[in-house]
């Protein structure tokens, strides 16, 4: 059986975190206050967290290396391949969420919510577009009544303001 060389998820995370925390700490070290500081400036905490974060990420790398070297068959670690991080099964739900939040400011809360709830319910297994749409309309109406008029919370109005 041909063994595939693959980076484990922990190792990929450790490498990414080393870069992220190092960048964070280095950028933080450049911060300075024009007012002058008493002992601890705006750079202190970012530097400290950056150093500690790099250390911990390196520790994670070492831990993963020790675990992998103890493993007899690398194929058995397939479930922890770094490619598990890019999961197509979650891309569509995430894309729907993102489209929903972006569209709120343009379409307004009622329209965007009806569309999102309908499409999401149908995608997740609601039997039929009619029932999904009914769910979308009724839930949005209840939310508007409760939050907008009951609790007087501000919700995105969208460009169709006069419909509010």
């Amino acid at each position: 059986m041909r063994k595939t060389r693959s980076i484990s998820a922990d190792r990929a995370a450790a490498l990414i975190l080393i870069v992220v925390f190092a960048a964070y700490g280095l950028y933080g070290a450049t911060l300075e206050s024009s007012l002058g500081v008493d002992y601890i400036g705006p750079d202190f905490f970012p530097k400290a967290i950056g150093i500690f974060g790099v250390f911990l990420a390196a520790l994670l790398l070492v831990q993963d290396r020790l675990r992998m070297s103890a493993s007899v068959d690398r194929q058995s670690e397939g479930g922890r391949r770094w490619s598990a991080w890019f999961d197509p099964a979650v891309a569509v739900p995430f894309g729907m969420m993102l489209a929903y939040v972006v569209s709120l400011e343009y379409l307004g809360f009622p329209i965007a919510s009806v569309l999102f709830l309908t499409v999401a319910a149908r995608f997740l297994g609601c039997p039929g577009w009619f029932w999904a749409a009914a769910f979308g309309v009724l839930s949005t109406a209840a939310a508007v009544l409760l939050f907008r008029y009951g609790l007087v919370l501000r919700l995105p109005q969208g460009v169709f303001m006069k419909l509010w």
């Binding site: 925390f21 964070y24 206050s33 002992y39 905490f45 970012p46 609790l151 919370l153 995105p156």
Partner: protein, 503 residues
């Protein structure tokens, strides 16, 4: 100090029929509003202020006190059922509460949250009644060095929140600490905002907490549906067993004491109280590995702590006129609007207000129990909702809760981003609660450390000369090291199970 006579007089006022109705209405509205993420106790009180100011002062306080108690409980309902923490104090409840719900024990989780809230709230009121002036004096001795040491002690909770994945837990805490540095610091420097004005006040807490918990849960569940993983239909038990109540009693008492003491400290808050209480329970437990997997004490302890903390927060408010939290700041506004001046003379000048409020807190806690225990069965039915309806609704409520904070689309984008971050963390065995812990404590630690360094003129060793600081720092080291050492001793020679969240 004579308490019986004034307390009886307070009860005589509070037990009048119209005041009982105000208490019931307050507990009900508080629970409903507390359920909604983002509203929380301070939001609930702020919303009801215009309404209550038109009634008699004592009646207004009775309603606000019941609202307060109800809202504190309400936050635990969504945390347990939907893994949506609407406020800091509900974050820890998500860990074991939601795990219990997934095991069909949502009824037990909700019931113990109500019972623990009632007992702790009542004990907190007793503490308020008997020890308020004395404790207020002690609270005044807490300066920036003591607060820094308390926050450092609070960070020790990361050990209990991480299970066996300690390095991953510490990394998550670092991530939370890093996120807390985003925004303007006290010297006016904008850190890590990169020119985005909406980030100047910092990252919105709700976007982080709801994203990491609720949105990640939605993504995990959506993925299970998308790949066709079978979901067991779980039959939920509604009634809590007497053995579960007995088992939780110790945790409730300990949580009440910890919560009350922490709540008295201005600025400490119910969130820190719940983290500390949870951490303490895991460290004294003989079965710490059960925490995070549906251990009922993991719900009882933090829920008790946050209700006791809310009573504790009233101590500096009533005796010194210092609001210990955002919620007590709203209560102070209400008192001022009712022409009542909080402070050292309140007990002498307006005993009717003080003892009426204390009696109202007792009654509010009873109303909470009477109202919410029967509602457990109704709340549990939410879990029978098909996922294709429940998941979009969770997203809808999350969006409303986050948007209501600042009306900023950026917060909603962050909500989605943190949701993805939480998804990857949970899929790869990283605990998410430490991120919240680091975020909540980070800003306060930095501020306290800065102030301490100014006080001691840069000599950090002078901080250690303060006894409370030394005690807390030693406790912090012990709290972090002891579980690690005990785990090594316990598992010596045996393979350690690697924790991983896999759908």
């Amino acid at each position: 100090m004579d308490v019986i006579g004034p307390l009886v007089a307070g009860f005589e006022t509070a037990l009048q029929m119209d005041n009982l109705l105000y208490a019931l209405a307050g507990a009900f509205i508080g629970t409903v509003v507390g359920v909604l993420p983002g509203i929380g106790p301070s939001g609930a009180l702020a919303l009801m202020l215009p309404v209550v100011l038109n009634v008699e002062p004592v009646s207004a306080l009775i309603m606000l006190a019941s609202l307060y108690a109800g809202a504190m409980y309400g936050g635990s309902t969504t945390a347990i059922l939907l893994n949506v923490p609407g406020e800091t104090s509900a974050v820890v409840t998500c860990l074991d509460g939601h795990a219990m719900a997934r095991q069909g024990r949502a009824g037990s989780a909700l019931s113990i949250a109500a019972i623990g809230s009632y007992i702790a709230g009542t004990l907190g009121v007793v503490g308020l009644m008997l020890f308020a002036p004395l404790i207020a004096g002690v609270a005044l001795s807490f300066g920036p060095p003591e607060y820094f040491a308390l926050m450092a002690f609070g960070l020790a909770a990361v050990v209990s929140l991480s299970g066996t994945a300690l390095v991953k837990g510490l990394l998550a805490t670092c991530a939370g600490l890093a996120l807390s540095t985003v925004g303007a610091d006290v010297t006016g420097v904008f850190r890590f905002t990169f020119g985005v004005h909406n980030l100047n006040p910092g990252i919105e807490f709700l976007a982080l907490s709801i994203g990491l918990f609720a949105i990640s849960e939605v993504l995990l569940s959506a993925r299970e549906i998308a790949v066709g993983l079978p979901r067991d239909i779980i039959k939920h038990r509604i009634l809590i067993r007497w053995s579960e109540i007995k088992e939780s009693f110790g945790a409730i008492m300990r949580g009440s004491v910890i919560g009350f003491i922490v709540g008295v400290l201005p600025g400490a808050g119910a969130g820190i109280a719940s983290f500390l209480s949870y951490s303490f329970e895991t460290q004294i437990s003989r079965t710490p590995e059960r925490f995070g997997r549906g251990e009922i004490k993991g719900v009882a302890a933090p829920e008790s702590a946050n209700n006791a903390a809310s009573a504790g927060a009233l101590v500096p408010m009533l005796t010194l006129g210092i609001p210990g939290s955002g919620t007590t700041a709203i209560l102070l506004i209400a008192l001022a609007a009712l022409d009542v001046q909080a402070g050292p003379l309140l007990f002498i000048q307006r005993p009717d207000i003080v003892w009426g409020l204390i009696a109202a807190l007792y009654i509010g806690n009873v109303m909470l129990l009477i109202l919410n225990l029967p509602l457990v069965g109704i709340f549990v039915r939410i879990l029978y909702t098909p996922m294709y309806l429940l998941l979009p609704l969770i997203m809808l409520v999350s969006v409303i809760g986050v948007y209501s904070a600042n009306q900023a689309t950026l917060d909603l984008m962050l909500l989605c981003g943190f949701g993805v971050m939480g998804y990857f963390m949970r899929r790869n065995g990283y605990p998410v609660a430490p991120v919240i812990l680091g975020f909540v404590l980070g800003g306060r630690m930095e501020t306290a450390l800065r102030q301490s360094m100014i006080m001691t003129q840069g000599d950090i060793l002078r901080m250690l000369e303060r006894p409370i600081v030394a005690v807390f720092l030693v406790l912090a080291v012990v709290a972090m090291a002891a579980p690690i050492l005990l785990r090594q001793l316990r598992f010596r020679g045996k393979p350690v199970e690697i924790e991983r969240e896999e759908a």
